[in-house]
Amino acid sequence: MKRARVAYAGAIHLASEYNGRLQLTDGRFVNEQDVVWLPPVEPRTVFALGLNYADHAKELAFKAPEEPLAFLKGPNTFIGHRGQTRRPSDASYMHYECELAVVIGKKAKNIKKVDAFKYVSGYTIANDYAIRDYLENYYRPNLKVKNRDTCTPIGPWLVDAEDIPDPSNLSIKTYVNKKLTQEGNTKDMIFSIADLIEYFSGFMTLSPGDIILTGTPEGLADTAVGDEITTEIEGIGKLVSTIVGDDIFREDGDRSHLKIHN
Protein backbone atom coordinates (compact mmCIF):
# COMPACT_ATOMS: atom_id res chain seq x y z
CA MET A 1 0.00 0.00 0.00
CA LYS A 2 1.07 3.61 -0.58
CA ARG A 3 0.38 5.83 2.40
CA ALA A 4 0.63 9.59 2.76
CA ARG A 5 0.07 12.30 5.33
CA VAL A 6 -1.72 15.33 3.97
CA ALA A 7 -3.45 18.45 5.20
CA TYR A 8 -6.91 18.90 3.72
CA ALA A 9 -9.87 21.07 4.64
CA GLY A 10 -8.38 22.15 7.93
CA ALA A 11 -7.09 18.88 9.31
CA ILE A 12 -4.19 16.49 8.97
CA HIS A 13 -5.16 13.14 7.49
CA LEU A 14 -3.64 9.83 6.67
CA ALA A 15 -4.34 8.97 3.07
CA SER A 16 -3.65 6.17 0.65
CA GLU A 17 -3.56 5.62 -3.05
CA TYR A 18 -6.66 3.84 -4.27
CA ASN A 19 -6.95 3.02 -7.97
CA GLY A 20 -4.55 5.84 -8.75
CA ARG A 21 -6.51 8.33 -6.66
CA LEU A 22 -5.86 9.83 -3.27
CA GLN A 23 -8.28 8.70 -0.58
CA LEU A 24 -8.38 10.01 2.98
CA THR A 25 -8.95 7.48 5.76
CA ASP A 26 -12.39 9.00 6.33
CA GLY A 27 -13.37 7.86 2.85
CA ARG A 28 -13.15 11.11 0.91
CA PHE A 29 -11.47 11.06 -2.47
CA VAL A 30 -9.48 14.25 -3.00
CA ASN A 31 -7.56 15.78 -5.85
CA GLU A 32 -3.87 15.39 -5.15
CA GLN A 33 -3.35 19.04 -6.15
CA ASP A 34 -5.82 20.17 -3.48
CA VAL A 35 -3.96 18.80 -0.48
CA VAL A 36 -0.81 19.93 1.25
CA TRP A 37 1.53 16.97 1.27
CA LEU A 38 3.38 16.40 4.54
CA PRO A 39 6.35 14.11 5.10
CA PRO A 40 4.76 10.62 5.02
CA VAL A 41 6.54 9.70 8.24
CA GLU A 42 7.20 12.05 11.14
CA PRO A 43 10.96 11.71 11.13
CA ARG A 44 12.64 10.55 14.32
CA THR A 45 16.36 9.84 14.03
CA VAL A 46 17.34 10.36 10.40
CA PHE A 47 20.61 9.06 9.02
CA ALA A 48 21.95 10.29 5.70
CA LEU A 49 24.69 8.59 3.76
CA GLY A 50 27.45 10.44 2.01
CA LEU A 51 29.33 8.97 -0.94
CA ASN A 52 27.37 5.73 -1.02
CA TYR A 53 27.49 5.30 -4.78
CA ALA A 54 30.88 4.64 -6.34
CA ASP A 55 30.18 6.90 -9.31
CA HIS A 56 29.13 9.78 -7.04
CA ALA A 57 32.23 9.34 -4.87
CA LYS A 58 34.30 9.54 -8.05
CA GLU A 59 32.40 12.60 -9.21
CA LEU A 60 33.30 14.38 -5.99
CA ALA A 61 36.93 13.21 -6.25
CA PHE A 62 36.88 11.02 -3.17
CA LYS A 63 37.84 7.44 -2.86
CA ALA A 64 35.02 5.17 -1.81
CA PRO A 65 34.70 5.06 1.98
CA GLU A 66 35.67 1.88 3.83
CA GLU A 67 32.98 2.40 6.44
CA PRO A 68 29.65 4.15 5.86
CA LEU A 69 29.97 7.93 5.98
CA ALA A 70 26.84 9.04 7.75
CA PHE A 71 25.45 12.14 9.39
CA LEU A 72 22.17 12.94 11.14
CA LYS A 73 19.40 15.36 10.26
CA GLY A 74 17.04 17.32 12.48
CA PRO A 75 13.25 17.69 12.06
CA ASN A 76 13.52 21.30 10.82
CA THR A 77 14.86 20.29 7.44
CA PHE A 78 11.96 18.10 6.24
CA ILE A 79 9.13 19.23 4.02
CA GLY A 80 6.54 17.32 2.02
CA HIS A 81 5.90 16.75 -1.67
CA ARG A 82 5.33 19.94 -3.73
CA GLY A 83 7.02 22.01 -1.03
CA GLN A 84 9.26 25.04 -1.38
CA THR A 85 12.97 24.71 -0.79
CA ARG A 86 14.87 27.87 0.05
CA ARG A 87 17.99 28.79 -1.88
CA PRO A 88 20.02 31.43 -0.04
CA SER A 89 21.06 34.36 -2.21
CA ASP A 90 24.77 33.89 -1.53
CA ALA A 91 24.81 30.24 -2.66
CA SER A 92 26.70 29.55 -5.87
CA TYR A 93 26.17 25.78 -6.01
CA MET A 94 23.06 24.17 -4.56
CA HIS A 95 22.38 20.69 -5.86
CA TYR A 96 19.70 18.05 -5.38
CA GLU A 97 20.39 14.46 -4.32
CA CYS A 98 17.74 11.85 -5.07
CA GLU A 99 17.84 9.13 -2.42
CA LEU A 100 15.95 6.00 -1.49
CA ALA A 101 14.73 6.46 2.10
CA VAL A 102 14.35 3.34 4.21
CA VAL A 103 11.90 3.58 7.12
CA ILE A 104 12.48 1.41 10.17
CA GLY A 105 9.40 -0.41 11.49
CA LYS A 106 10.50 -1.91 14.78
CA LYS A 107 13.20 -1.67 17.40
CA ALA A 108 16.48 -2.97 16.07
CA LYS A 109 19.73 -3.67 17.95
CA ASN A 110 22.62 -5.82 16.68
CA ILE A 111 20.73 -6.98 13.61
CA LYS A 112 22.57 -9.20 11.13
CA LYS A 113 22.31 -8.54 7.41
CA VAL A 114 20.23 -11.64 6.72
CA ASP A 115 17.53 -10.38 9.08
CA ALA A 116 17.75 -6.69 8.20
CA PHE A 117 14.63 -6.47 6.02
CA LYS A 118 12.43 -7.73 8.85
CA TYR A 119 12.99 -4.33 10.44
CA VAL A 120 11.98 -2.24 7.42
CA SER A 121 8.41 -0.96 7.31
CA GLY A 122 8.65 0.78 3.97
CA TYR A 123 10.34 3.13 1.55
CA THR A 124 10.00 6.68 0.42
CA ILE A 125 12.00 9.24 -1.56
CA ALA A 126 14.14 12.02 -0.17
CA ASN A 127 15.81 14.90 -1.91
CA ASP A 128 18.83 15.73 0.22
CA TYR A 129 19.72 19.21 -1.07
CA ALA A 130 23.24 20.45 -0.35
CA ILE A 131 24.76 23.88 -0.65
CA ARG A 132 28.37 23.24 -1.32
CA ASP A 133 29.47 26.82 -0.60
CA TYR A 134 29.03 26.12 3.10
CA LEU A 135 31.11 22.95 3.28
CA GLU A 136 33.69 23.02 6.02
CA ASN A 137 36.18 20.33 6.96
CA TYR A 138 34.80 19.73 10.44
CA TYR A 139 32.29 16.92 10.89
CA ARG A 140 31.91 17.31 7.14
CA PRO A 141 29.28 17.51 5.63
CA ASN A 142 28.30 19.92 8.39
CA LEU A 143 24.74 20.83 9.32
CA LYS A 144 25.00 24.25 7.68
CA VAL A 145 25.17 22.34 4.37
CA LYS A 146 22.81 19.50 5.18
CA ASN A 147 20.33 20.52 7.86
CA ARG A 148 18.92 23.77 6.53
CA ASP A 149 15.20 24.48 6.89
CA THR A 150 13.20 23.12 3.92
CA CYS A 151 16.22 21.45 2.32
CA THR A 152 15.06 17.84 2.66
CA PRO A 153 11.81 17.19 0.80
CA ILE A 154 10.54 13.68 1.54
CA GLY A 155 7.61 11.69 0.18
CA PRO A 156 5.09 11.71 -1.33
CA TRP A 157 4.36 8.12 -0.25
CA LEU A 158 5.48 5.63 2.31
CA VAL A 159 5.34 2.44 0.25
CA ASP A 160 4.98 -0.78 2.27
CA ALA A 161 8.10 -2.95 2.25
CA GLU A 162 6.13 -5.94 0.97
CA ASP A 163 5.26 -4.01 -2.19
CA ILE A 164 8.92 -3.51 -3.09
CA PRO A 165 10.30 -7.03 -3.42
CA ASP A 166 13.77 -5.92 -4.50
CA PRO A 167 14.74 -2.46 -3.20
CA SER A 168 18.29 -3.18 -4.34
CA ASN A 169 17.42 -2.82 -8.00
CA LEU A 170 15.41 0.34 -8.52
CA SER A 171 16.14 3.05 -11.03
CA ILE A 172 16.70 6.55 -9.65
CA LYS A 173 16.13 9.68 -11.70
CA THR A 174 16.13 13.42 -11.18
CA TYR A 175 14.56 15.92 -13.55
CA VAL A 176 15.18 19.67 -13.47
CA ASN A 177 12.21 21.36 -15.11
CA LYS A 178 11.30 17.97 -16.63
CA LYS A 179 14.75 17.50 -18.18
CA LEU A 180 16.54 14.33 -17.02
CA THR A 181 19.78 15.24 -15.22
CA GLN A 182 20.54 12.35 -12.85
CA GLU A 183 20.19 8.65 -13.47
CA GLY A 184 21.33 5.67 -11.43
CA ASN A 185 20.22 2.45 -9.81
CA THR A 186 20.08 1.37 -6.18
CA LYS A 187 22.08 -1.73 -7.13
CA ASP A 188 25.17 0.49 -7.27
CA MET A 189 25.16 1.36 -3.58
CA ILE A 190 28.52 0.74 -1.91
CA PHE A 191 26.82 -0.18 1.37
CA SER A 192 23.50 -1.92 0.74
CA ILE A 193 20.35 -1.40 2.80
CA ALA A 194 21.10 -4.58 4.76
CA ASP A 195 24.72 -3.47 5.33
CA LEU A 196 23.51 -0.15 6.70
CA ILE A 197 20.95 -1.68 9.08
CA GLU A 198 23.60 -4.07 10.38
CA TYR A 199 26.09 -1.21 10.73
CA PHE A 200 23.88 1.29 12.57
CA SER A 201 22.08 -1.25 14.74
CA GLY A 202 25.49 -2.65 15.66
CA PHE A 203 26.25 0.39 17.80
CA MET A 204 22.90 2.04 18.49
CA THR A 205 19.26 1.08 18.86
CA LEU A 206 17.06 1.89 15.87
CA SER A 207 13.36 2.60 16.48
CA PRO A 208 10.16 2.83 14.44
CA GLY A 209 10.15 6.09 12.48
CA ASP A 210 13.92 6.19 12.13
CA ILE A 211 14.88 6.73 8.51
CA ILE A 212 18.01 5.96 6.53
CA LEU A 213 18.65 8.07 3.43
CA THR A 214 20.89 5.81 1.40
CA GLY A 215 22.91 8.23 -0.71
CA THR A 216 22.77 9.44 -4.29
CA PRO A 217 24.28 8.41 -7.63
CA GLU A 218 26.19 10.75 -9.97
CA GLY A 219 24.57 13.51 -11.98
CA LEU A 220 24.42 16.46 -9.63
CA ALA A 221 23.68 19.89 -11.01
CA ASP A 222 23.14 23.40 -9.72
CA THR A 223 19.56 24.57 -9.24
CA ALA A 224 18.11 28.03 -9.65
CA VAL A 225 15.24 29.92 -8.07
CA GLY A 226 12.07 28.90 -9.90
CA ASP A 227 13.33 25.44 -10.87
CA GLU A 228 11.02 22.50 -10.35
CA ILE A 229 13.01 19.47 -9.23
CA THR A 230 11.50 16.00 -9.54
CA THR A 231 13.24 13.07 -7.88
CA GLU A 232 11.85 9.72 -8.96
CA ILE A 233 12.44 6.17 -7.79
CA GLU A 234 11.02 3.18 -9.61
CA GLY A 235 7.97 1.78 -7.83
CA ILE A 236 8.08 4.42 -5.07
CA GLY A 237 6.90 7.54 -6.85
CA LYS A 238 7.88 11.05 -7.83
CA LEU A 239 8.79 13.76 -5.34
CA VAL A 240 8.56 17.36 -6.54
CA SER A 241 9.94 20.50 -4.96
CA THR A 242 10.40 24.05 -6.15
CA ILE A 243 13.38 26.25 -5.45
CA VAL A 244 12.46 29.62 -3.98
CA GLY A 245 14.59 32.65 -3.12
CA ASP A 246 15.33 34.49 0.10
CA ASP A 247 13.10 37.35 -0.93
CA ILE A 248 9.82 35.64 -0.05
CA PHE A 249 10.96 35.07 3.53
CA ARG A 250 11.07 38.82 4.25
CA GLU A 251 13.92 38.80 6.70
CA ASP A 252 13.77 42.53 7.30
CA GLY A 253 10.02 42.58 7.68
CA ASP A 254 8.31 43.20 10.97
CA ARG A 255 7.49 39.77 12.28
CA SER A 256 6.22 40.90 15.65
CA HIS A 257 2.74 39.71 14.67
CA LEU A 258 4.20 36.20 14.72
CA LYS A 259 5.37 36.50 18.30
CA ILE A 260 4.16 33.55 20.29
CA HIS A 261 2.95 34.32 23.77
CA ASN A 262 3.60 31.65 26.35
Binding site: R44, F71, L72, P75, N76, N137, N142, K144, F203, N262
Partner: protein, 262 residues
Amino acid sequence: MAKARVKLKKSDYSEEMDILSDGYILKNGDKYDVSQIKVDIPISGTVYGTLLNYKGSLEALKEKIGHPPYNEPPKGPILYIKPRNTFSSFSTPVPLPNGIPELEIGAALGIVINKTATRVKKEHASDYIEGFTIVNDISIPHESVYRPAIRYKARDGFCPIGPWVVSKESISNPDSLGIRVFINGELRQENSTVNLIRSISHLIEDVTDFMTLNSGDVLLVGVPENAPLAKADDHIRIEIDEIGYLENTIISEVKLSKEGVL
Protein backbone atom coordinates in the same frame (compact mmCIF):
# COMPACT_ATOMS: atom_id res chain seq x y z
CA MET B 1 16.74 30.37 45.26
CA ALA B 2 16.21 29.29 41.66
CA LYS B 3 13.11 28.21 39.82
CA ALA B 4 13.48 24.96 37.94
CA ARG B 5 11.25 22.75 35.85
CA VAL B 6 11.52 19.17 37.02
CA LYS B 7 10.12 16.08 35.33
CA LEU B 8 9.65 13.22 37.74
CA LYS B 9 9.73 9.63 36.56
CA LYS B 10 6.27 8.09 36.25
CA SER B 11 4.84 11.56 35.79
CA ASP B 12 3.60 12.77 32.44
CA TYR B 13 4.18 16.45 33.11
CA SER B 14 6.85 18.74 34.53
CA GLU B 15 6.53 20.65 37.77
CA GLU B 16 8.07 23.90 38.83
CA MET B 17 10.16 23.57 41.96
CA ASP B 18 12.48 25.78 43.97
CA ILE B 19 16.16 24.93 44.07
CA LEU B 20 17.96 26.22 47.13
CA SER B 21 21.41 27.76 46.89
CA ASP B 22 22.92 24.70 48.60
CA GLY B 23 21.60 22.53 45.73
CA TYR B 24 18.69 21.06 47.64
CA ILE B 25 15.25 20.97 46.12
CA LEU B 26 12.13 22.15 47.85
CA LYS B 27 9.14 19.90 47.23
CA ASN B 28 5.89 20.32 49.18
CA GLY B 29 7.84 22.24 51.81
CA ASP B 30 10.40 19.47 52.36
CA LYS B 31 14.09 19.60 51.43
CA TYR B 32 15.50 16.83 49.29
CA ASP B 33 18.80 16.10 47.61
CA VAL B 34 18.28 15.38 43.91
CA SER B 35 19.55 11.84 44.43
CA GLN B 36 16.59 11.25 46.76
CA ILE B 37 13.96 11.90 44.11
CA LYS B 38 13.59 10.10 40.80
CA VAL B 39 13.97 12.64 38.04
CA ASP B 40 13.41 11.98 34.36
CA ILE B 41 14.87 13.63 31.25
CA PRO B 42 13.61 17.24 31.46
CA ILE B 43 13.55 18.02 27.73
CA SER B 44 11.50 16.82 24.78
CA GLY B 45 13.09 17.97 21.51
CA THR B 46 16.24 17.52 19.48
CA VAL B 47 19.67 17.92 21.08
CA TYR B 48 22.31 19.70 19.00
CA GLY B 49 25.94 19.66 20.07
CA THR B 50 28.49 22.30 19.09
CA LEU B 51 32.05 21.38 18.18
CA LEU B 52 35.11 23.49 19.08
CA ASN B 53 33.30 26.35 20.79
CA TYR B 54 35.69 26.72 23.71
CA LYS B 55 38.78 28.82 22.98
CA GLY B 56 40.91 26.10 24.53
CA SER B 57 39.41 23.34 22.41
CA LEU B 58 40.19 25.20 19.20
CA GLU B 59 43.64 26.10 20.55
CA ALA B 60 44.28 22.40 21.23
CA LEU B 61 43.80 21.72 17.51
CA LYS B 62 46.06 24.63 16.50
CA GLU B 63 48.98 22.56 15.18
CA LYS B 64 46.64 20.65 12.86
CA ILE B 65 44.24 23.31 11.75
CA GLY B 66 46.27 24.70 8.83
CA HIS B 67 46.85 21.25 7.36
CA PRO B 68 44.72 18.64 5.62
CA PRO B 69 42.07 17.60 6.19
CA TYR B 70 41.08 20.84 7.95
CA ASN B 71 43.13 23.43 6.02
CA GLU B 72 41.59 26.41 7.80
CA PRO B 73 39.82 27.32 11.05
CA PRO B 74 36.06 26.75 11.19
CA LYS B 75 33.90 29.67 10.05
CA GLY B 76 30.37 28.77 11.08
CA PRO B 77 29.25 26.87 14.16
CA ILE B 78 29.93 23.17 13.64
CA LEU B 79 26.99 21.16 14.92
CA TYR B 80 26.04 17.54 15.40
CA ILE B 81 22.94 15.77 16.65
CA LYS B 82 22.67 13.60 19.74
CA PRO B 83 19.77 11.35 18.68
CA ARG B 84 17.06 10.09 21.02
CA ASN B 85 18.60 6.72 21.69
CA THR B 86 21.39 8.60 23.50
CA PHE B 87 19.07 10.45 25.93
CA SER B 88 19.36 9.40 29.53
CA SER B 89 18.49 10.76 32.95
CA PHE B 90 20.19 11.53 36.24
CA SER B 91 21.77 8.42 37.81
CA THR B 92 20.93 6.10 34.89
CA PRO B 93 24.05 4.01 34.13
CA VAL B 94 26.01 4.92 31.00
CA PRO B 95 26.75 1.72 29.04
CA LEU B 96 30.43 1.18 28.25
CA PRO B 97 30.46 -0.62 24.88
CA ASN B 98 32.33 -3.92 24.59
CA GLY B 99 35.96 -3.50 23.66
CA ILE B 100 36.05 0.21 24.53
CA PRO B 101 38.30 0.93 27.53
CA GLU B 102 37.35 4.53 28.26
CA LEU B 103 34.79 7.21 27.47
CA GLU B 104 35.30 10.91 27.05
CA ILE B 105 33.20 13.03 29.39
CA GLY B 106 31.70 16.08 27.67
CA ALA B 107 30.52 18.58 30.25
CA ALA B 108 28.11 20.88 28.46
CA LEU B 109 25.73 23.65 29.33
CA GLY B 110 22.44 22.99 27.51
CA ILE B 111 20.35 25.93 26.31
CA VAL B 112 16.69 24.90 26.37
CA ILE B 113 14.60 26.62 23.69
CA ASN B 114 11.08 27.80 24.58
CA LYS B 115 9.55 28.73 21.20
CA THR B 116 10.15 28.52 17.48
CA ALA B 117 13.43 30.29 16.79
CA THR B 118 14.19 31.24 13.19
CA ARG B 119 16.76 33.85 12.15
CA VAL B 120 16.97 35.27 15.64
CA LYS B 121 19.19 38.31 16.17
CA LYS B 122 21.49 38.08 19.16
CA GLU B 123 19.81 41.02 20.89
CA HIS B 124 16.62 38.93 21.03
CA ALA B 125 18.19 35.55 21.73
CA SER B 126 17.20 35.54 25.39
CA ASP B 127 13.49 35.69 24.42
CA TYR B 128 13.88 32.20 22.94
CA ILE B 129 15.48 30.59 25.97
CA GLU B 130 13.42 28.78 28.59
CA GLY B 131 16.41 28.00 30.75
CA PHE B 132 19.49 25.89 31.15
CA THR B 133 20.34 22.31 31.97
CA ILE B 134 23.41 20.11 32.33
CA VAL B 135 24.33 17.62 29.61
CA ASN B 136 26.98 14.95 29.60
CA ASP B 137 27.85 14.76 25.90
CA ILE B 138 29.69 11.43 26.04
CA SER B 139 31.93 10.21 23.23
CA ILE B 140 34.17 7.32 22.49
CA PRO B 141 37.54 9.11 22.22
CA HIS B 142 38.31 10.03 18.61
CA GLU B 143 41.09 12.19 17.30
CA SER B 144 39.83 13.36 13.92
CA VAL B 145 36.94 15.79 13.70
CA TYR B 146 36.91 15.75 9.91
CA ARG B 147 34.03 13.32 9.46
CA PRO B 148 30.76 13.10 11.41
CA ALA B 149 31.28 10.99 14.51
CA ILE B 150 28.00 9.08 14.86
CA ARG B 151 29.74 5.84 15.77
CA TYR B 152 31.58 7.67 18.56
CA LYS B 153 28.86 9.98 19.84
CA ALA B 154 25.45 8.41 19.15
CA ARG B 155 25.58 5.24 21.27
CA ASP B 156 22.66 4.33 23.49
CA GLY B 157 22.76 6.25 26.76
CA PHE B 158 25.53 8.64 25.67
CA CYS B 159 23.61 11.80 26.56
CA PRO B 160 22.56 12.11 30.21
CA ILE B 161 20.52 15.32 30.63
CA GLY B 162 19.32 17.04 33.79
CA PRO B 163 18.51 16.95 36.55
CA TRP B 164 16.20 19.85 35.65
CA VAL B 165 15.86 23.01 33.61
CA VAL B 166 16.67 26.12 35.63
CA SER B 167 14.75 29.14 34.38
CA LYS B 168 16.84 31.79 32.65
CA GLU B 169 15.61 34.38 35.15
CA SER B 170 17.35 32.43 37.90
CA ILE B 171 20.76 32.51 36.20
CA SER B 172 22.86 35.63 36.80
CA ASN B 173 24.99 35.39 33.65
CA PRO B 174 24.96 32.23 31.51
CA ASP B 175 28.13 33.43 29.74
CA SER B 176 30.05 33.14 32.98
CA LEU B 177 29.19 29.85 34.65
CA GLY B 178 31.82 27.58 36.14
CA ILE B 179 31.78 23.93 35.00
CA ARG B 180 33.51 21.14 36.88
CA VAL B 181 33.83 17.41 36.29
CA PHE B 182 34.52 15.05 39.17
CA ILE B 183 35.37 11.41 38.61
CA ASN B 184 35.04 9.27 41.73
CA GLY B 185 35.04 12.47 43.76
CA GLU B 186 38.23 13.85 42.25
CA LEU B 187 38.15 17.15 40.34
CA ARG B 188 39.31 16.32 36.80
CA GLN B 189 38.22 19.31 34.74
CA GLU B 190 37.32 22.90 35.42
CA ASN B 191 36.29 25.59 32.97
CA SER B 192 33.81 28.39 32.46
CA THR B 193 31.40 29.48 29.77
CA VAL B 194 33.29 32.78 29.82
CA ASN B 195 35.72 30.96 27.49
CA LEU B 196 33.20 30.32 24.73
CA ILE B 197 34.16 31.48 21.25
CA ARG B 198 30.52 32.13 20.43
CA SER B 199 28.63 33.39 23.44
CA ILE B 200 25.14 32.00 24.00
CA SER B 201 23.34 34.78 22.13
CA HIS B 202 25.88 34.73 19.29
CA LEU B 203 25.53 30.95 18.97
CA ILE B 204 21.73 31.19 18.80
CA GLU B 205 21.99 33.86 16.10
CA ASP B 206 24.43 31.83 14.00
CA VAL B 207 22.57 28.53 14.35
CA THR B 208 19.07 29.87 13.71
CA ASP B 209 20.40 31.68 10.65
CA PHE B 210 20.11 28.40 8.75
CA MET B 211 17.97 26.09 10.87
CA THR B 212 14.94 26.52 13.07
CA LEU B 213 15.14 25.51 16.69
CA ASN B 214 11.82 24.49 18.21
CA SER B 215 10.35 24.56 21.67
CA GLY B 216 11.95 21.78 23.69
CA ASP B 217 15.12 21.62 21.60
CA VAL B 218 18.46 21.88 23.36
CA LEU B 219 21.56 23.54 21.98
CA LEU B 220 24.78 22.58 23.73
CA VAL B 221 27.31 25.40 23.97
CA GLY B 222 30.19 22.97 23.46
CA VAL B 223 32.52 20.93 25.63
CA PRO B 224 35.74 22.32 27.14
CA GLU B 225 39.22 21.13 26.13
CA ASN B 226 40.99 18.27 27.90
CA ALA B 227 37.90 16.15 28.37
CA PRO B 228 38.54 13.69 31.17
CA LEU B 229 38.34 9.97 30.43
CA ALA B 230 36.39 7.53 32.55
CA LYS B 231 36.30 3.75 32.68
CA ALA B 232 33.94 1.04 33.88
CA ASP B 233 32.44 1.65 37.33
CA ASP B 234 33.65 5.27 37.46
CA HIS B 235 31.21 7.70 39.00
CA ILE B 236 30.84 10.95 37.05
CA ARG B 237 29.59 14.20 38.49
CA ILE B 238 29.26 17.34 36.38
CA GLU B 239 28.57 20.57 38.24
CA ILE B 240 27.51 23.82 36.65
CA ASP B 241 27.20 26.96 38.78
CA GLU B 242 23.64 27.96 39.63
CA ILE B 243 22.18 24.86 37.94
CA GLY B 244 23.24 21.93 40.08
CA TYR B 245 24.94 18.66 39.32
CA LEU B 246 24.39 15.65 37.06
CA GLU B 247 25.62 12.24 38.21
CA ASN B 248 25.94 8.97 36.32
CA THR B 249 28.04 5.85 36.62
CA ILE B 250 29.71 4.06 33.76
CA ILE B 251 28.84 0.37 33.69
CA SER B 252 30.01 -2.20 31.17
CA GLU B 253 27.43 -3.19 28.58
CA VAL B 254 27.95 -6.86 29.44
CA LYS B 255 27.08 -6.23 33.08
CA LEU B 256 24.05 -4.13 32.18
CA SER B 257 22.71 -6.74 29.81
CA LYS B 258 23.15 -9.46 32.44
CA GLU B 259 21.10 -7.35 34.81
CA GLY B 260 18.47 -6.91 32.16
CA VAL B 261 18.99 -3.14 32.00
CA LEU B 262 19.93 -3.20 28.32
